[in-house]
Symmetry: C2
Subunit: 394 residues, 2 copies
């Protein structure tokens, strides 16, 4: 068989991995690196979550759970939707997965076949097109920028829609921009795609990490939407690998069969951790963390703008500032490399997130305390003062 | 888009899930059920593994790990291959995955494209054909029975081989038969498929659970083989969701990219548990467990044969006895249902594992202590004495 037929081969490497491994090498050589490249909250696992997991593990019965997840976790998630969004979701529609990553395997596995086209915002989360490819589908990037708040809308998707369009993946707040989609825009888009018989997958992994208005779940507009979510970001449980998806009622049976085959089950102790993290006292702790993140965002945006970066849409959520660096340097990739080498600050080149003008951008994560962000900004300031002209040459 | 194009829809539900949920319902009604249907070792997590995970979690830093796994775990696995099999595997070829299930997503994602055909033993592990379908491939079942020890061989694969054949998945010891593939048979098969330019994926998840000769890894015959393995069975860490794959040197870069997209990482605390479970003192505990399993196997085979079941190939490994029940009852599915309802014993119908004569079989797991196995056998004995003629009617 001709290996060029293997869709996985079309997956481009992430530039940030090269940055990350250089950063690690520099650290081994004794350099201090300010890490602003990884989208992982820096807070420790909340103590009550630790204790729940520990006492579960101590019982020694860390076994397969039902493929759909522990019933008590599914019930608690159903309750969470009632409380937080005022939407009724039967627990049988909720499937617990190994992260949102596993959630995408599950829902896209349910939805895609050979040649299925999927509309995606460019720039956007870079795994979306790769998941689509893996299931034999075809990603259809839709260029987005400040004109549409870095989001898809009914109009831009309509222009693209045609033969074999299967659906779209949306995400608000978004990675890498932190931009949120206005409620009427989302409603119109969801309705339009559903009218055309397409699917909508709404990646709500950054829900809870919003610094203005609360996010709306796509389920508020349609019970036919597929929701993907995770305990990684708002709940801060990245390494536990726990997420969930919500499927329409008529997808329950297929999701069940597919989950049994793909995963057998999500990690058991992580499910206990997830359950504990939905407790009211933990949500209060998460609220404090959210406020800290909001302060970091404000600080970072302000410093970046003073340094000459352009933040086209002030991020309303997530963990990121997507900053246009084209007034400072001609090329974001070269800039990210130089910044690491010369200033010891690691950031992600915009090109990891798509093609549309991304060479002018770098992404900063505010996943470090303000003092550390300040150190990073000071270093960048000195670097720019010292060597603006060299940046283009690397 | 026509949803009949979605390969996931071709995934048949597992009969055992119906058995399991009926068994659970009966238990809620106060019935005592002997569970012989789930392929999950019943032993608790070894205490030293518990303690390693607990102290890691207590540190609060349960974060994403590198996509390929924690370097110390990959190093320990490389050492394990040197020790156990005498094969040198560079740690860079080892990828830590969320279970063998995640391992299959990774290796088949690397290997399959639209229309790739894959030779599979029928009966065999039922997720194999479903993984193949999901990536747009086509499973090609090869009927196997006692004539070839319930395994593929170079001859049976040669007969099938043709256009678009991409490779084969083999597994020894096998699920559901516990049959092991003789070393020269495996070598000949691996060589033959490689000569034709095909891939060999060797699922070695039941290695360590062998009751006669030690298993050989496909890597002893060829460094081009893809190995899938797991901490679920021999190490008993099912609910931790941890496995690994070994890829050829020239697959390392693709595996890395794919793992980043599919999983981000395997669960962090589980990786610490996996590392601890490779320690010499734990391997000694696992050796004791293996002996207990061997005794259970002997007990179960003997009782089943006395009851009139035919065990065509005495299982040399894994956790299963695949028993031909056709001398007792005409149909394995009806038998499994009746056995649960009338005798309170849950087993898996052979039809879950394929088409070739599987309606004559049921699978028994010896994942319960001997006393409990004895209780199950006594119940089956009374049931058969009481109502042999009714069995065909349900
Ligand atoms: C937009 C988005 N979706 C999904 C994920 C996957 O996260 P996880 O698998 O940890 O839940 C990420 C991780 O960064 C993300 O940014
Ligand atoms: C033959 C075989 N391979 C793979 C698996 C998957 O196991 P896990 O994902 O728990 O490692 C199983 C589970 O029963 C199995 O029997």
């Amino acid at each position: 068989m001709d290996s060029s037929d293997v869709p996985a081969r079309a997956i481009a490497p992430f530039q940030v991995m090269e940055i990350l491994s250089r950063a690690k090498a520099m650290e081994r050589d004794g350099r201090d690196i300010v890490h602003l490249e990884i989208g992982e909250p820096d807070f420790p696992t909340p103590p009550l979550v630790v204790e729940a997991a520990v006492s579960f593990i101590r019982r020694g019965e860390v076994k397969y759970t039902p493929a759909s997840g522990l019933p008590e976790l599914r019930d608690a998630l159903a309750e969470y939707y009632r409380e937080r969004y005022g939407v009724g979701v039967g627990p049988e529609r909720i499937f617990v997965t190994p992260g949102a990553s596993g959630g995408f395997l599950l829902v896209l596995g349910m939805l895609l076949g050979p040649g299925s086209k999927v509309a995606l915002a460019d720039p956007g989360y870079p795994c979306y097109p790769n998941f689509v490819r893996l299931f034999g589908g075809e990603p259809c990037p839709v260029p987005v920028d400040d004109a549409t708040g870095f989001h898809l809308n009914a109009e831009s998707v309509r222009r693209l829609w045609g033969e074999r369009m299967a659906g779209t993946i949306i995400s608000s707040p978004a990675n890498p921009t932190g931009a949120t989609m206005a409620m009427p825009v989302m409603k119109e888009l969801v309705d339009w795609v559903h009218e055309r018989g397409g699917f909508v997958v709404s990646d709500e992994i950054y829900h809870g990490l919003e610094y203005g208005e609360r996010s709306h779940t796509a389920l508020e507009f349609s019970q036919r939407a597929f929701v993907v979510n995770s305990f990684s970001k708002y709940f801060g449980l990245t390494g536990w690998r726990l997420g969930w998806v919500i499927v329409p009622q008529d997808g329950v049976e297929l999701a069940e069969r597919l989950a049994q085959n793909l995963f057998i089950s999500a990690p058991a102790a992580s499910q206990i951790a997830g359950l504990a993290s939905l407790r009211e006292d933990n949500l209060q702790e998460l609220e404090r963390r959210r406020m800290a993140l909001a302060a970091r965002r404000d600080f970072l945006c302000e410093r970046l703008e003073r340094l000459g970066f352009v933040v086209r849409v002030k991020p309303q959520g997530a963990l990121y500032v997507f900053a246009d660096c084209s007034q400072l340097v001609p090329d974001g990739v070269a800039f990210a490399r130089a910044l690491l080498r010369e200033a010891g600050v690691a950031v992600t080149p915009g090109t990891d997130f798509g093609c549309h003008e991304t060479q002018h951008y770098v992404r900063f994560c505010y996943t470090a305390p303000i003092l550390r962000l300040a150190e990073g900004m000071d270093r960048i300031e000195r670097f720019l003062r010292r060597s603006p002209s060299r940046v283009g040459l690397v």
